[in-house]
Point group: C2
Chain length 241, copies 2
DNA sequence: CGCCTTTGGGCCAATAACAGACCATTGATG
DNA sequence: CATCAATGGTCTGTTATTGGCCCAAAGGCG
């Protein structure tokens, strides 16, 4: 990006697509990030439409298309709803190649850079502020959850852990940015096989991140998060070249 | 924000308003951030509509309303266009109070936290990567521009300096996030009188930021940016209580 | 069993937004 | 002074999106 491209930075597209497409994308995010886990259901259409700021008709079209694509199963009547049927595919090396093929290298670099900046920033901000007992507890609980995760739930709880850090700062804007960042690489992350050595390694790094935040040491938090993210980033970049 | 509010983080509104409102907002950003300075003109309608991803009709309505509000002056014919007439008001203390009244305290805290995270992250990412000669030059030039700024142009060049850091990372997502963050506090910043002691103080901090980045020292970059932003943040917070 | 509540399903009329074609104005330039 | 190219101004028909209303299914409860 050239320095003179300031116009491009600010005068960028006002909307990413039409309401239908954006809604599909958003719901897919919720599903793939595991915000709504397998077997759970989305909020009722009427409520969800309000949350998303769109009409119920548009929402229903989006749900319909996700249901056609096999992500959701819709049931009518009381206690009905749109239930998540999606499970992360068990990834092989081919899976990752395929996922990477959907993304060009500039886009990948953008996403990785963005994620690095925003997650490091969030962790430091959190570490730089005095933490309440409740915040400490939440952080420790999320950490314990990832560490005890069933391998099938690993990605979901890992995401939950990372997002919690941003949410604990109390800034919805920051939490949204981290969710966005995570999302840009989810398909890739989900395509990486979850192996025990990787989990152990990540667990140690997660511990370091939490320790730095609890110690209210921003510099250490930065180092811990940067190291953690650099790991997967390097792995993904490696597959591209 | 409660930890269980993950739904709120991801299932947030798909669009902030209708196309017209969002367009007005975006153009106002470009004007207030000084991306298009006083006397300069916006890109031609046809081109701008493409950039913003909206129809020309909608864009024209937005331009019309900004022109009615006195931000723009539209001239027809070749070499015509929408020229920026807006100049930042010379602020007094009352100005700041008024600007703060438009924002509740949660919103302000959100914006300040977001800005802190995202600008610190950007500076660190930039400092953590090997810099090209061109990048170094751009950075130094922007710094010199702020330092030599006519007081009337100070805010604009200050914004340019901060945005450059994010842009130099080469990540449009990150640059967009920084622009967004800056924007959330522009009205407040513009309402703070620009006094010589403040300029001198900021200049020293800007020097420190650039020095840290050029030295490729992320930790120092974090400290420098955090200190710089904390200054204005504390000032603004002070006015609220 | 019959009713009630919650939830998805369908439909319709009104409005927003768009794409594209064409007109009008203006200043430079030959 | 006539022409041309770039630019804003206007119109028209089409598509997307909305809000509101009512229907249909399904499970719980008296």
């Amino acid at each position: 990006m050239k320095g003179s491209d300031r116009l491009t930075t600010v005068l960028r597209p006002v909307r990413a697509g039409n309401a239908f497409e954006e809604t599909v994308e958003r719901l897919l995010q919720a599903i793939k990030l595991g915000v709504v886990g397998p077997g759970e259901k989305l909020p009722p259409e009427r409520e969800l439409a309000v949350r998303l700021g769109i009409s119920r008709v548009t929402l229903r079209e989006a749900i319909r298309s996700l249901s056609d694509a096999g992500y959701l199963e819709v049931r009518r009547g009381r206690y009905g709803g749109a239930f998540v049927t999606y499970r992360q595919p068990d990834p092989g090396a081919g899976e990752l190649r395929r996922a990477l093929a959907d993304m060009d290298s500039a886009e990948l670099a953008d996403a990785l850079t963005f994620r690095m900046a925003v997650e490091c920033g969030a962790a430091q901000v959190l570490a730089a502020s005095p933490l309440s007992a409740a915040q400490r507890t939440t952080l420790r609980r999320r950490l314990a959850e990832v560490n005890n995760a069933d391998p099938r739930d690993y990605r979901r709880l890992d995401t939950a852990f990372h997002l919690s850090i941003a949410e604990l700062t109390g800034s919805p804007l920051l939490a949204g940015a981290c969710a966005e960042a995570r999302l840009r690489v989810t398909d890739l992350l989900n395509a990486i096989p979850v192996l025990q050595p990787n989990i152990d390694h990540a667990a140690a790094q997660h511990e370091a991140i939490v320790a730095a935040i609890l110690a209210e040491d921003p510099a250490a938090a930065y180092r811990a998060v940067a190291e953690h993210l650099e790991g997967t980033a390097a792995l993904l970049r490696g597959f591209l070249s």
